[in-house]
Symmetry: C2
Subunit: 344 residues, 2 copies
């Protein structure tokens, strides 16, 4: 998720603002709830936990919980706020561990936990956030939340492990790529939608549909995010382009580029990915600008958005449906924004 966190769904698209404006009371309630959790941490680590529970993230996963459990405006149901806090804490914990592994100094213009406290306390602090998320999950009347969230955590970790182990290699098929993002990103999107719909008392079939929607939206989102790593606006996403290539991570845009290069050139690129040659970043970014690469990757995003939309098609009149579909519009707008910027 190391790139997911910097881009998130953001920017001034109208659809985005329209969807998120409705969630203001929910996000305010979530903030209050998360702050109140600090009291549960041992006094010795409270300030450190506070540091990690910052409120500057986009909170996509809590938004998915609230939207999937949508029953109209008004005060958000306490159990939705709690489960939104659970998925956000799991996400924040994974960011703390990501930052250690990436050696990242800054996140959202603040020092990362690993920079602030050192990597050793940061490993443990991530563990403590994970633990507290599960502790909260276990405060529901049944074990379902805990069961699903714990499994999702394991799957997120599995995805991250596979990605990490494959860094600096080209030993990764497109199926591998899909599998990795399904695990590392889509899983928590899926569970957020499942639990939101479930806690709002939706029919079983709708819970399943919302979960399927979340999964495809998550895959679409991660592909978009991987695209933004090559085509984004450096100032807006707050990082230099091509960091995935620089770190030897083969994502879909790089896959497509490799496939389109003649054999000799492909070998040269593979040598760069595997660290046998220095990365010629300027050349690679220029090659990426070939419109067919953007097109192929954007088409994959659209396919996943279409699959997400299809999942909800039988349920046009359920309250969450139009809001969730609104998120698809947001993502389409984000992709279009990249295209406009890249001029393809």
């Amino acid at each position: 998720m190391s790139s997911a966190r910097t881009a998130e769904i953001s920017g001034p698209t109208h659809a985005f603002a329209a969807v998120f404006a409705q969630l203001q009371p929910h996000m305010a309630a979530l903030d209050l709830f998360l702050r109140a959790q600090l009291a549960a941490f041992e006094p010795e680590i409270r300030a450190m936990a506070d540091y990690c529970i910052d409120t500057s993230g986009k909170r996509i996963r809590p938004a998915l919980v609230f939207l999937s459990g949508w029953r109209g405006r008004g005060t958000p149901a306490p159990e939705l706020v709690k489960v939104a806090a659970v998925v956000e804490l799991v996400h924040l914990a994974s960011l703390v561990h990501d930052d250690i592994m990436d050696g990242a100094d800054l996140r959202r213009n603040r020092r990362t936990a690993t920079r602030e406290y050192g990597p050793t306390p940061a490993v443990l602090l991530g563990d403590a956030l994970f633990s507290h998320a599960l502790h909260l999950a276990a405060s529901f009347p049944t074990t379902e939340v805990c069961f699903m969230v714990a499994e999702a955590m394991r799957r997120v970790c599995a995805g991250e492990i596979v990605q990490t182990m494959r860094r600096g290699t080209t030993n990764i098929t497109r199926d591998d790529y899909w599998r990795i993002i399904d695990l590392k990103t889509a899983e928590l999107f899926r569970v957020s939608c499942h639990l939101g719909a479930r806690l709002a008392g939706s029919p079983e079939a709708y819970v399943t549909a919302a979960a399927r929607f979340g999964r495809h939206l998550g895959i679409a989102y991660q592909i978009y995010d991987d695209l933004a790593d090559y085509f984004g606006d450096e100032r807006r996403i707050g990082k230099t382009l091509g960091t995935d290539l620089a770190s030897g991570k083969v994502t879909l845009p790089l896959h497509v580029l490799m496939d389109r290069l003649p054999a000799g050139e492909r070998q040269a690129l593979e040598d760069e990915i595997c660290g046998r040659q220095p990365v010629r970043m300027e050349l690679r970014l220029r090659q990426m600008q070939d419109g067919r690469i953007f097109e192929a990757v954007a088409a994959a995003v659209q396919d996943e958005i279409a699959a997400a939309t299809t999942a909800l098609a039988p349920w046009p009149n359920e309250a969450p449906t139009p809001l969730l579909l609104g998120l698809c519009d947001v993502l389409r707008g984000q992709v279009a924004g990249l295209q406009a910027k890249s001029g393809t």
Copy 2:
């Protein structure tokens, strides 16, 4: 727990063998159960999880579960086996993270996960083991197991964080020391006893008593383990003496030594702990041999064992009581063994 893991309760004491011989079917069932868990891990990380779930540990926490839930010989109850697996997985996960932080290469004569796979996958692998432990915990009919284990995990982490943050300082009172070991070690001992007694259907008051027993035994065990770091048999515990001092960790023996040195000498020792001067290990180990230091620390172990024993005193006829008290005998024997070795 970095030193706890190397010493564990072991050795040829008779009491130990007597208690653990009764647990052979339980430990065999636990092994089978843990092996069967591998199927739940994503195929991509199964071999790595397998590597971590080794069977060479002493499994004190599972033993506490089985003994606290003791109802006589025979096939162990499946729910006891499952909860024993939960606490062992939490413990194994914490070892994986400990080894990263300590930069440890070997554990039980095998490469550590961080050495085998690299620190980044090892962070995630520890997370995956934690997650699976909680996933298993959520498969009980009620949320109690998950609730307690998640909280215990957070408290273990809090204890480890405090210890880590205080390394290389002498800014740690005896109360701080007790608090740290209460969190990092005694908490999981406590929860193991609580859940064992609870799942065996013991009366509420006995569950509370068993938990209190576990807590004091855990504190006693950690103090013993800290004592062994200065007085142990290097060959048997498999590490050099004085590693706590070498890493700037102030435990009870060092506290007592500091208190007994004249002001000027104390300052010199503090300089060594804080890294302002190189550690004069030979001198310090010799100073430790002063019998009064061993005596003072051993007395603290005995006090905690006494508190553990007292917790069970009203329940002489409950089936687990004699077995749990047998563990106290084991620990007393271990301390006596150190004393014999140190010749004090």
